[in-house]
Amino acid sequence: MINFQAIKTIYLFEMARMKRTLGQSVASPVISTSLYFVVFGSAIGSRINEVEGVSYASFIVPGLIMLSVLTNSVTNASFGIYLPRFAGTIYEILSAPISYVEILIGYVGAAATKSIIVGTLILATATLFVDLNIQHPFWMLFFLFLTSITFSLLGFIIGVWADNFEKIQIIPLLVITPLAFLGGSFYSIKMLPPLWQKISMANPVVYLISGFRWSFYNTADVSLNVSLIMISLFLIVCLATVRWIFKTGYRFKS
């Protein structure tokens, strides 16, 4: 029997943590995104021609949302599971009648929810600066959900792997943010020299942003199918890693 009560308890506990750190969780991504709009969209963007038939300020909207969703998912989920490990309160979760899958749903579900909220807030903020006309709203939501869940899974893995706060910070800072910046948040991959275009193809974030941007403006760096396959692959890798963690009890149980 599924312990729904426990899933709900973990989920609500994590959401309450977000409420407590409202400034950190919500205000900071909204403010930093607004700054990007001012600097890139208005100041620099006014001197850049349209990209792929879209004004530059509008062009960067999907990339900016992805940038925040990626870092938020990873940070939220990694902190969510790392904090009880760090504080020692994990004993209670391990001794409760909960399966690993239920633990995962609680933590990853809450982290993904937060990211989706942040993504939606940024989208709302963006409408204050630019006119948005979303071509494929269903696909837009689909990408938003899938990305939030996938990267929350990645965050969960990092939170299980990390044994100090530095490791928790280092992945979003040194891996996710650079990948997101180089993944075409602020430019189209097609604007790069051929060699760099090829190198960029190794960056998984390119496919995410490309697919997400396609749902907004119907233009993409890579085809929709390739984007979908790449995200699914990444999701499968994360799920397999989580499965391995649970099977071996890695960093959970001695």
Partner: protein
Amino acid sequence: MKNNSIIEIKQLCKTYAGGFKALKSVNLKINKGEIFALLGPNGAGKTTMISIICGISNPSEGQVTVGGHDILSDYKKTRSLIGLVPQELNTDAFESVWNTVCFSRGLFGKKPNPQYIEQLLKDLSLWDKKDNPMMTLSGGMKRRVMIAKALSHEPEVLFLDEPTAGVDVELRKDMWQQVRKLREAGVTIILTTHYIEEAEEMADRVGVINQGELILVEEKDQLMQKMGSKKLTIELSENHQKLPSSLSSFNLELNKNILTYNFDSKKEDSGICSLLEELVKNNIRFNDINTQKSSLEEIFVALVHKQ
């Protein structure tokens, strides 16, 4: 006896990744409704054993059942029966007492029950602290919250891992009272401690564990009786070098003016009368007489050292 046991541990072994053997084939049955004290020095394997039963650690070998269910294949059932108060005071610093206790109940899959939690907090004298964040509480109060968390889902078995470590005397007495109340309500209690006093005060049965081996399990009273020899100390009026030969039939030790006589109080004739008569006959005068029963602590030290 068999139907009466709530926990059965069979040949339980635990070897940690580094090769350290924390438990070496432990067999133990815990009876329903009893208070069982698990005694042992630091690092003896007490916490390891509890961690395995509660699901925090994996067993290397052996089997454990709780309420007839296997702890691995039927973990949801066994864990629902168990409440655990761990040794360390690990809490969510920013959460209020009320929230953290309700969180525990939810984790165990129980529907919220504010009346029950209210009564629980009142019983543990935590009611006026219910809205305080955990980090503002004293160590003793935190310990109470840990107990409230463990009891939040109405468990049938309660593990108390060193419940009174670092707790002042008054609070300790208070907790003993709480534990007795729980037993009256039908909760089985397993407590680990290295305060022998605690086991002596509370336990129905005592298990002694040392270096991963359960070296003894006994009814506390029987244990005290069996191993409890008595000692008579006589303070003589003056120093003596030697005792008269008529006293040689007694098991005596003489150190200057202190004469000690070890005897078994359970025997029909303890020999005290004849000893005193002999002393008077030989004109050995004494100022004071004192008898002592060996405590569980002495029994324990003797057992552990014998190993």
